[in-house]
Symmetry: none
DNA sequence: GTGGTCTAGACCACC
DNA sequence: GTGGTCTAGACCACA
């Protein structure tokens, strides 16, 4: 798998996992792939995956069962949605709105771009 | 002045300058504050401001007159608008749209948030 | 049963057993629950319980009778008391005293906390 | 420097730092030694020190100024005292009291051991 | 100079 | 088998 270079890999992996949880592909209380498995399938060093897991564990999105593996926490789906939403609304949107004002992009144009995206992307 | 930690300070300063140019506050062919002045007022290392200037000069948004200072280039306003617009549409919007889908925020909700922002912020 | 994560599960189980012996609930020369029984009631892998038994056997606190099960050894009560006492005085107390100094908790406060504990806990 | 083997080195380093803050040796808003310096003086890998710093930063005990270094946070002294105190009272003391009951060590004996410690240790 | 990330490889305790 | 920690060494962006 290829990663962008403008963000740490371990965070990109965290995003991947969160998306899997959000989309319901990975159910709560389900075991995640092991550190080594993920490392191999993502073509990444195990340490990097370990870092992702530690990071997500701190956020209570996953938890560890010793000697067995990592599991999606109960309530993880809701939690990630809240966290992502907060981040989006508080950190992203203000900047987006500011840019829209500066660049004189109004809601109409935004809608067009959005429809354009949903068709092609 | 306080800076966010998810982006290099020198780029954040560049953004500040571009916004001043875009808003018309700093007219073309006008002299910018000196490196030292900016560094002091922004509470930043002069090297960092210097880096911003070099960066903007590379993009032809400002130019240097030896021994005198940096000036807003002719056509800078239009240029920054184009550059920012490209960046916004190609780099930002796709991620915004993706998040909207993931978080199930539709255009209606987006509009509400937008109006809310234009009133308060 | 839930276990703390800062100590191996098999040692926490060993502690449980020792407490039962110390308190007199499990008399000497009495048969312990089988590995399977304990594993089920503690919601733990049988291997883990097995490890606990091996560990306690090494310390002569329990002994094995082939095909029958594990038994509390003769003198186990006195033995565990001595072992625990050594451990407590040499390994625990120094750290406790150090913390008390660092956090400026004196003997008076310690007494209050102790009385508070004996009433509620 | 030598470390105990029953606890991760990076946590032992964190404890060292906290003690320096608690004792007032390292004042708030003061710069910590750099990662590399600490690594050398503690005879440890820089990554290990880095881990300690990340850990303490998550707890808001230290903060980072980019390109400059890590600093003791404002309010760090109070914060560490509160955190350590909570940990001590909620996680340590109950176990200590429990042990005292099991081993029949009363407050009198505890006092003797305490005085003995303050004299010799 | 500073921190931050990543890889590679090793060793350990635990289940 | 699992995770967790540590070392060594490299490279990069930033101030």
């Amino acid at each position: 798998m290829e990663f962008q270079k403008d963000q740490p890999i371990y965070l990109q992996i965290a995003d991947l996992i969160c998306e899997n949880i959000l989309s319901g592909e990975w159910q709560e209380e389900t075991r995640l792939p092991s550190v080594r498995e993920l490392a191999i399938s993502l073509e990444v060093n195990p340490n990097t995956v370990m870092r992702t897991f530690t990071y997500l564990q701190d956020q209570k999105i996953i938890y560890n069962q010793r000697g067995i593996g990592y599991f999606v926490a109960a309530g993880a789906r809701e939690l990630t949605r809240v966290l992502k939403r907060e981040d989006f609304i508080n950190a992203w949107l203000p900047q987006v709105f500011k840019m829209m004002n500066l660049l004189q992009i109004d809601l109409n144009e935004f809608q067009k771009l959005y429809h354009n995206y949903t068709k092609t992307g």
